[in-house]
């Protein structure tokens, strides 16, 4: 990784996100600090860390939902100061993120309607996004009439409707059952490969990170810096029956596990 430069410099267009010694504290409590990495455009990066390691806060800072208290963050060449429809955040809690008062299709059309597209046009474009996540047949249902996995698909379709460069996903599949989760992971990879978005994906699940990403970043549980930033290098397309039994997968997995659980435990006896 390139050394930090004091002055902001023009970023090459193939960089989607660049963090330079970024940190965020709440009073005396440090969420994370001294975090530097950059994300190439169209790549899929997973951020892993124990709970409390500040990964959600980090993602919120990249979204512009929260401000850094130290260091700098840039997205697509510009400093991150506020949320932007070019960087759309997908929340873990889809049931609270989706609008209960709007039907599925109108949820997906929301960012389009808000950007001034006519209702008819918004509806037809939203329908395309729904078809992409395989839910065009439930367009007129309300979100709360759908299963959890379907609701998260709607939330993803809505994020895509804003046509962002970057998708920021905060444990999006953390609240669904294992089978549904596998289906969602495949659907997401399919969408990513078709639409060439940049995806930053926060998860506490190492297997999910390795299965999805080009690169895995592990945050230091004690709040400062990274403890791992490694290429995944597993062939695509990935499959749940083949990818996890590859040698490279096993090596990476034990490497990450060792890092996450390296905290020495004193034997009480």
């Amino acid at each position: 990784m390139a050394a930090a430069d004091e002055r902001p410099r023009p970023m090459p267009t193939d960089t989607a996100i660049e963090l330079d010694r970024a940190g965020r504290s709440f009073g005396h409590t440090v969420a994370f600090g001294d975090v530097s990495f950059s994300v190439a455009r169209h790549s899929f990066v997973a951020i892993v860390g124990a709970s409390g390691s500040g990964k959600t806060t980090l993602l919120r800072c990249i979204a512009g939902l929260e401000r850094l208290t130290s260091g700098t963050a840039r997205a697509l060449g510009e400093p991150i100061e506020a949320p932007s429809p070019r960087r759309v955040y997908v929340f873990q809690d889809y049931s609270r993120s989706l609008f209960a008062w709007r039907s599925v299709i109108r949820n997906v059309a929301f960012p389009l309607e808000m950007s001034g597209v006519t209702k008819a046009e918004a509806r037809s474009r939203a329908m395309d996004q729904l078809a992409l996540v395989g839910l065009d047949h439930r367009a007129d249902a309300f979100p709360w009439q759908l299963s959890g996995g379907m609701q998260q698909r709607v939330a993803i379709a809505r994020a895509l409707a804003a046509d962002p460069e970057i998708l920021l996903m905060d444990e999006p599949f953390g609240a669904v059952d294992a089978q549904t989760r596998m289906g969602l992971q495949l659907a997401l990879l399919d969408i990513w490969q078709r639409l060439h978005k940049t995806i930053v994906f926060v998860t506490h699940d190492i297997d999910e990170a390795l299965f999805l990403a080009d690169r895995v970043i592990v945050l230091n549980a004690r709040g400062y810096g990274l403890v791992l930033d490694d290429e995944v290098n597993l062939p695509r397309p990935r499959s749940h029956s083949e990818t996890p039994v590859m040698t490279r997968y096993g090596v990476l997995r034990s490497q990450v596990l060792q890092i996450l659980f390296e905290v020495p435990v004193k034997d009480p006896r």
Binding site: A63, L65, P83, S84, P85, V88, Y89, F91, D93, S95, R96, S97, F99, A100, W101, R102, F110, P111, E113, M114, F142, W144, A162
Partner: protein, 281 residues
Amino acid sequence: MERESVTPTMGESVQAKVRSLPLWLIQVAVGLTGPAVLIASWWYLSISGSDVRSRYLPSPAKVAAVFGEATSRGLLILEAWSTLVHFALGFLIAAGVGIVTGITLARFQALSTALHPVLNFLRNLPGIAVLPVFALILGLSGATISGVAAFASVWFILLNTAAGVETMDPVTLDTTRVFGVTGWRRLIHVILPSAAPRIATGLRLGLGIALVVSVSSEIIIGRSGLGFVIAQSMATLRPARAYAAIIAVGLVAWAVFYAGEKLEARVVPWAKQEARGATTR
């Protein structure tokens, strides 16, 4: 099966006939027993006692006759309409003022904190207590009745609206920020619909209070309306007429609540869902 239950053959036993009756018919029959017992007891009490009792408890037949006659002559319908106008004007004023003020209050936290003790006091104050004040200002008029109804019900609408806006889900708000929606568009497309179930609760409470206060005010100062008919009939020793008006008030209230419920289910269909979600979450 169903066809058989509609046209039972002659030879069937009574038990089989009962069993083959449609469920709704049985439910209606059971549901009618309550009113039947009530009316029978009323009837018994009205004829079994002294002459004194029949003066304040006329028989159901007499009340029904008066009700029928007053309705056919248009009197009860006219007075019911008058009550409905008194109530509706008061309620609509309360709804408009309550919702607008409630949103404003929720957006300015300092104002809300400053006014909260006052608002809580006013909410708990029985609204009918200010009737003389309104009568002094607006006279013994329909405006006074509507005004007191509005005064009594506005606090519930206002406080529930403010609470609905203040307790907005942070994830919903963050989602709105992510898509860059601010200002008026955020208010109309996100904050209002999100607070709508709570606003509906306030409106439901306000509806009941506005109705109670309208009829009470009519009894006390009214020159028209069903409350006025009740008071006047009792004062002129025509209890059957008063009972007919009481039944009419009940019917008006039932119609108002029924319409409110239907409207709520249509306008905020997600409210019921959220109430259910709240218990499981």
